[in-house]
């Protein structure tokens, strides 16, 4: 069965993603919770950028948009295992203290982009026009 190649993720990113996988639980509940968190994200980002002008806002917004699309995928997909991996990736994104804390320094969303990218690539998910502004995402 196809899945996410965890070995392609390194160190803390992998550990943190594994932690997210453990947190997924019931899909319906998880989708509801994560959707609420995705909705609250722009406000959080605005707040964070008010005290850190170095945040890569473009990348953060881009990953956020992709996560919204992934959420739509979860709501429609019938492949339960894929949904688990995708929900874990969204969980990773909304988790502020993940592999590289999101609102810290200037590269806090690079790891989120890597995780989301890996999930999309490994699961061969077709999302309509994904546009990341960061250099790491070419999915």
């Amino acid at each position: 069965m196809s899945g996410v190649k965890l070995e392609s993720l390194h160190g803390r990113i992998r550990r943190s993603y594994e932690e997210s996988l453990r947190n997924v639980g019931n899909h319906a509940e998880c989708i509801q919770r994560l959707r609420a968190e995705l909705d609250a994200f722009p406000a959080l980002l605005h707040q964070a950028s008010a005290v850190n002008e170095f945040l890569d806002l473009d990348l953060a917004k881009s990953v956020h948009r992709t996560c919204l699309k992934l959420m739509a995928f979860c709501e429609t997909s019938t492949n339960s295992q894929h949904v688990t991996f995708v929900l874990a990736a969204i969980h990773y994104f909304v988790n502020r203290l993940d592999g590289s804390p999101d609102f810290f320094g200037l590269d806090g969303f690079e790891d989120d982009a890597v995780v989301v990218n890996t999930v999309i690539t490994d699961l061969a998910i077709n999302l309509p026009t994904i546009q990341f502004s960061g250099s790491k995402e070419s999915a």
Binding site: V51, N52, E53, F54, F104, G105, L106
Partner: protein
Amino acid sequence: MSNFHPGQRIRVRGEEWQVEHARKHEQINGKAVWEIEAKGLTNIVAGAKYIFVDDLDTIEVVDPADIEPEIATSGRAIRAKLYWEAHLRRLLPRNGAIYLGQHGACQPYDYQMQPAFKALNMHRPRILIGDAVGLGKTIECGVLLAELIRRGKGKRILCAVPKATLEQFQAEMWGRFSIPFHRLDSKGLEKLRQDLPSTMNPFFHHDKAIISIDTLKLKKYQTWLESCDWDVLVIDECHNVADRTDGGGGSARHRVARRLAEKANAVILMSATPHDGTKHGFASLIKLLDRTRIKDDSSFASEDFIQHFIRRTRSQVADQIENRAPRKQLICKIPMTGDEIDVLRAIHDGDKLTTMLSKRHGGGQRELFKTTLIKSFLSSPYALLETVQKKLKSLGADPDRRIKTKHSNEEDREQFINFLEDLEHSIQSLGEFTRFKYLKEYLTKHPTKDDDRIVIFTERLRTMREIEKFLLKEKLVDGVFDASSDGKQPAGRLIATADGSLSDIELPRIVKAFQAKTKGIHILVATNVASEGLNLHTCCHRLIHFDLPWSLITLEQRNGRIDRLGQESTPEIFYFASTAEGSTKHFATKESFKDDFWIIDKIKKRVETASTDMAEEAMAKFVEGEEEEVQNTSAYEEGRIDQVDDVDPLLAMLANPDFAAAAAKTDGVNRRRLPTLFEKSPSDFILKLAKEAKLDVVEADNTAVTVKMDNALRFETAQWPREYQPDNDSNGVTLDADSKRVQSFYRHARASNAEVDRSFMNEIHPLIALLENTAIGFFPGRKVPTVTLKGDDKNAVYMLVQSTLYNKRNDAVDQFWQILYHKKGSPDLKPLFNMNEYDHAVKITAWLNDHLSQIVQKSDLTANERRRIADLTRRAVDTMKGLTMECRTNRSNKLRGALTEEINRIKAWESARASYLERLVNEGKDLQAQGVFSIQGRMVKSELESIHKDSDAYRNFIDSYLATSSEPDIRILGCLVVEE
């Protein structure tokens, strides 16, 4: 919840206050509480200082647009000018130029500005100043500290220095740069412990503290040190905190240095001998500055650390320093007596020693003990006697105390004891030590004078004591200086001895008395405890190495005590070297015979094979530990001597002229003047302020003023270090801007052991801060100085506005001034200056000076003028906020590239370091399989597991120090209205 910043106006309990310090505390329940230290501005609380906590009081931030213009045209708007000047003096410089350094009470050479310039142009000023001895590293440190303080980055500073230089470092920082360090010697700490509740952290009490490294490492202070952080950490003679355990976690000194460096923003390390002969040791110092510079502790290149390193040798700066005669050095060849040679031969040839120790511990141990004995003898027969007797005691040679050691063979032990007893007998039957004869002859021919003292260095405590006894017996001195007493000392020419057993109170007392012409210490006999950092050159130009250290670094550090900048006479250095050469009793195996000339030969070989600079670098090979360690590590020393001819690639790199040039290179130092509205003289601001505030200030001349004592000054000076507080009966405090005069006062005071009655008038002097507060108090609360001007542009309004960006630590990061101009009828306020330019404040100052010449004297503003200002304040605040946000964006765009590059470099380092550590772990496993356990293995694993912490630390730095809030603090500082 509001954010609070220093300088903000707040309203609490019905009165207005100005925030001086604001700290945010996270509570256990996750709620944040602000602790605000504020000074009262209005009515009954004016001038009073209080601390508020926002969950107990309602604290309201006063709207910056809510102002009350107050006409200030009298005396050519002098009050307004003083008020603006006080703010101007606190405006943060916005570039890495040197503003204050060149104005210290010293004659700073260009090269002395460079370390500060290099450090100020780093995001995190972290630098190792490795200049050769005597080039003025303390001054370089002072320049950098003054600049950091002026930039608001040096509020809390901890200086860790050797105990011998505590007082000297403190005095230099105060005398030259007006930086008030509180000395936390054992007396100072004890007093603090008495004064403070037992639960209070004494390291929080003073913002600027100086403490001995040996005190810092004490276990009882570790918990307190853990819980406080510092803006700047200074470690003088930093080679003493290098990790010499080859990855074993380091000494207590190293561990405490590492913890402090992790928590400090800026780190300044200083040592003329930063390299201790091992790559690991040097790497450990670089890692104190930046842990992400070294991937592999055993192999790294200059480009890995050059960013944090500066080193100049005397020859590299020869064109800048005064033309002084080079030191005179004389090797005094002292032939040993036949009996002395016999003793030395006995040690070299000791068959019993050889047999016994070979059986017990193998050849290495034999060489170790042999070297210990040789080294002791080359210091003095008394030192050898002490070593032999100690060994006999430990072997149980005393029949009453004999114990059987399980490792030794009884027969061998008896043989060894017999050998030592024979040696003891031979030493005891020696006549007068020949070197004593030479010492007596020299001191009789060239006696000491009040202003011409001698310092004698020796390796051994016992030798030091014997020299003291001998000089007293021969009446070459009249008495002994009692370091334990601060009171009256014996009359006449005194001798003082300095060794590691002296406390951090006694040692500086000796040094101070040695420097003072009025005190009678004519001869100072010291072990290596006095060989680092001390300034002994002020009344001493003669130095005797009674014995030769086996460490080139110690030799150079010793010489550096008298051969340094400011030495007015030609330094004369005598090396007492015993030789067996020419003796009929000299033995055949000369090559292996170790007398003082064997040491000199080793040194010469090194010097001959390198240029002078390279020789200096080569000395880095021999740095050694504290005195007590040296006593017991002769084999270690021996091992190092044997390594002389091995070329360490790093040392070769340090000695490489290209690297030397790179380490010494910085771009031309950018020196600027701080903007001021009072150009006439440095004391002009104080005198005019005194007149306006009716302060009792007397002008001594154009450059010096005395501020008479009043309650405010008494309160202020009570916060100063106890050593610099004026006496109770003092008239006041004198500030002098004449650098040369202040230096001469300090020189005179040092020579006569008197107190200096004046301080250098530096912008960062605490008294100046008090005076600035007085000027700011002219317009308390909502009041804003307003002046009316002549001009054709009727009814135009100019507003002087200041904005400040704060980081998460509540430190001001960037600050701007602006003049917003409003033409009557115009919809907008127009900024007159480009705030992105570093020197926009200088231009604004010139603009203000120019416009203040067009003042129209008025007793009050017209109703129309008041209305005009009231209509504009909100727009002025908003406009300034918008302009500040543009500057914030520009700044982040400018920095982003460099920060991204740095983050990427750290990521690459993280991966390379992890590979290196994994390799070590695997090597450790192989060793473990062979039954070898190493503590390093555990350290490596632990580092590997937490490797991400180092890159996180940099992200944390960006987050806490560089990132700023989008809510700048805006203040309208003044209004200028063109009359109707």
